[in-house]
Assembly symmetry: C2
Homo-oligomer: 221 residues x 2
């Protein structure tokens, strides 16, 4: 049985990368890989990879390496991709539509079962073959479909009221694209934030503070 205690977020955040990469190797027909080869391709040290995987019990064999398909399956299992958590998406604006259309939820542990908005011009439109439903009908939808996760693509100002409504309905897991900090009010909610503004500002810092050699140079054509 894999050990799973006190695993740091940095290890956890590397797992999807391993998973993605191993699946790519599988598609490329690679059946076995050493931690040294894996490390070269991932830009991590071999010992880092061994340490990370050891957190979950370790999978390789000294001198033999990892069986790609098996390791991909094990990491998928650790991530929980087989759960297909029933997922609803709130906010059918530009971002919500893109997320609904773009993401392969079913390969990543989730099943998108409903898209909600309260703007009359959006209700009834179709995204990914799914009709956008009226947020007002959410309680009824819940009784029947029992969603477990909500993707929040709504404005920051609307998030608190939405979570106040969803949390008591048993939805405690959120993929949050707004800057509202759900855990301040609901410390037990499981929240993964995607802060696109912060990411862009971080890039702005890194460009502005890059060593001179890396600074944007004059265009040479």
């Amino acid at each position: 049985m894999p050990k799973r205690e006190n695993i740091s977020m940095s290890v956890i955040r590397r797992l999807p990368r391993y998973y993605r990469f191993l699946n790519q190797l599988k598609r490329d027909g690679v059946t076995r890989i050493s931690s040294t080869e894996l490390s070269g391709k991932l830009g991590l040290t071999a010992s880092q990879i061994r340490q990370d995987l050891n957190c979950f019990g370790g999978f390789g064999q000294q001198g033999y390496g990892y069986i790609v398909e098996q390791l991909a399956a094990e990491i998928g299992h650790i991530l929980g991709v087989e759960h297909n958590y029933r997922t609803v998406l709130f906010g059918a604006g530009n971002l919500g539509r893109a997320i609904a259309a773009h993401m392969n939820f079913e390969q990543l542990g989730f099943e998108l079962i409903g898209i909600f908005d309260d703007a009359p011009q959006k209700i009834g439109t179709v995204i990914r073959g799914m009709e956008v439903l009226n947020t007002a009908c959410f309680e009824n939808f819940c009784k029947e479909k029992k969603p477990e996760m909500a993707v929040l693509c709504i404005p920051r100002t609307a998030v608190e009221a939405t979570v106040d409504r969803l949390y008591p309905l048993g939805i405690h897991n959120y993929w949050n694209f707004s800057h509202y900090d759900i855990n301040m009010k609901y410390p037990n909610a499981v929240v993964e934030n995607v802060h696109l503004n912060d990411s862009l500002l971080t890039l702005c810092y890194c460009i502005s503070n890059a060593p001179e050699a890396q600074k944007p140079q004059k265009v040479q054509i």
Copy 2:
């Protein structure tokens, strides 16, 4: 002059959060705030905040706190938001359209000056008042407009060839939504990755491994 050496990425990644929050306070009419109040609202310790800001020279006054408008401006300056880096976006699919329409580039240090795609059905369509241009015309566009940053909303398989084309044109800064690792081939490129798949898989892990008390519960209505 602010000191700016060896600042860790964790400190850098907290700056946008400070910036965002201080601007919110400014909009709310708050003029002064202590590091203790700031910490309560940000979920960090006061000493953490003081330490972070000290990396850049420190701004508060003992017993007086921070002047909100001044600190917001200073952090904005550290981030480099006044640069308005000329930005192009590649890929006018669902995600690219959403990013172009949704992001306030100009408040975050960038100016979106062109959107490119090579699909005939996308070229000429309008996003955010801007016509999608043919990727084939990019070199000419570059001569005139001299872009400094590229947002990549193209499939993973197309990224390498795109960066091979952009890098020699002087575009060394990337906001990358694909899973292609630009730094493996271009170690000096300044890259900020947004890995939405990894984020969703991390959430899947966190839900699957949440303490029992937090696990999705039966819907109660």
